[in-house]
Subunit: 267 residues, 2 copies
DNA sequence: GCGATTTGTCTCTTACAAAAGACACATGTA
DNA sequence: TACATGTGTCTTTTGTAAGAGACAAATCGC
């Protein structure tokens, strides 16, 4: 049974990026992969499957998971076979929030905004070179507009992405954006130069609107939140039906920009 | 200036448990210590100090911190010297919340409760054998009653502790409670057997009140939240001034028990 | 019922990560 | 000006953690 049917056999391709070319991987890296895997999985998973998922030896995975469970970063689910994130990660996460004015106030503003407008509202940031929905508040529309906290989407698909990249070098942007990212969900392919032009435009206008990029039914309105140094730290955005009238979106953009500006003021 | 005033000098006592007697420590363990250290520190810290704080070699600490920063678990603070928790930990924390009904609804109930009563309200759980304030909502009193999310307090000092330990073996309880834990802040020493008796009482009465244990000015009212299996999963509690009249506390306890019971019902 | 698969634990080996330490460069301060 | 003290990056050494593999026990599939 030592033939080629096992997942671990070849470095052919892991689920995501695997350059596990050789052999021995640092334990910490394995752990980081485990956490990331659980993050995309979004639910408890058996240790065996976890080992497959991150393409790690079973024995190693058992050892690491035990450490993590003991430390409280992971928790055993009910039956004691599956694992998922643990309380400690929640506590560390709250520590992060406490130490981060922008996030704390941003969450508040987003909640307010979606309550006032009835639309889905989000706070977005760059997270190690990726666009990330850091907080979102659903809005009151009957059909649920997609978007969950922690979701990561290619930068070129979003209005926020065009704002967040303001001020970056072309080379840097090129590094952050893969070829796949430029292929929109509807099949169209965006040119990198066009995207960079969009970024420049968004920078000067001070807001950004995209229509039907992530999906064909929604429009995304975004406004930048600046740090004291003038860098774009985050964006606030509203997700509305694509057929929303211009007067309405103008109104929303104005509101959004006002709130984003308020967030930009420290304290 | 290399005398005994510095935190790092001797392995005499680390902040927590240190048996770093020997030499080569697993990288993952170092990381876990780093995270825990940041958690108790509650603010960004220089890498050098961090190395001292966790009693790890400087070179190693630099390497590990770099990995963690690259992974987004930690972030460099402003000037680029100090580090603290990163966005990724926040995201993982939110994943935990999403996968955990009890916590999600518990936070909600706590917020409601403190708004309705005006008192400080908390959701508490056991976290690797320690009492932990998982969520707290301040209340409206002029003087701020202490208590922060993530704070860990010896079990015997709290009303919640007496409820959370219901159903545990005496031996298990003994393991969870150190001698220091039994020494109350006011100098009195609690006998382990008395504490265990308290636990039994709390179990039968279905709530617990302690007066002036953590500090001399407050009373703590707590009620248990049960899992489907009947185990005490968490407690909700209210922190009120110690001179609160009995009629008032009776009323609050009734409310608390009702809400805690509601939380116990799954879904 | 009986193979086939999965799970959790253990042992042994060696590739390599943790640690020591040297370095260059900032600071601060006597 | 010299002198301590802290910071960030190297290189080298070696103790050990990651990994392979074997196992019994549990679970599945029919």
């Amino acid at each position: 049974m030592q033939d080629a049917n096992d997942v671990t056999d070849q470095p052919v391709l892991g689920p995501a990026a695997e350059r596990t070319s050789g052999s021995r991987e640092k334990g910490l890296n394995r752990v980081l992969e485990i956490l990331e895997f659980l993050h995309v999985t979004q639910r408890a998973i058996g240790i065996g499957d976890l080992a497959k998922g991150v393409n790690a030896p079973r024995s190693t995975t058992y050892t690491l998971v035990r450490s993590l469970v003991d430390a409280g970063l992971l928790e055993m689910e009910g039956d004691g076979n599956r694992v998922y994130f643990g309380k400690k990660l929640y506590l560390y996460g709250m520590d992060y929030v406490r130490g981060n004015d922008l996030l704390r106030r941003g969450r508040q503003e987003v909640d307010n905004l979606s309550r006032e407008t009835g639309e889905t509202s989000e706070l977005c940031m760059l997270q190690s070179g990726r666009y990330t929905i850091v907080h979102s508040s659903p809005g009151t529309r009957p059909f649920r507009i997609s978007s969950a906290t922690g979701l990561q989407i290619p930068l070129p698909w979003t209005a926020s992405g065009r704002l967040l990249l303001a001020g970056f070098e072309k080379a840097t942007i090129q590094d952050m954006v893969s070829d796949d990212d430029l292929l929109l969900p509807d099949g169209r392919r965006l040119q990198l130069d066009d995207f960079i032009a969009d970024i420049a435009t968004a920078r000067t206008t001070g807001y950004c609107i995209t229509s039907g990029l992530v999906d064909a039914y929604t429009k995304c309105l975004a406004a930048p939140v600046f740090s004291v140094t003038g860098k774009v730290e985050a964006t606030m955005c509203l997700v509305v039906p694509i057929d929303t009238a211009k007067e309405k979106t103008d109104e929303l953009i104005a509101l959004l920009r006002e709130r984003a500006a308020r967030l930009s003021i420290p304290g």
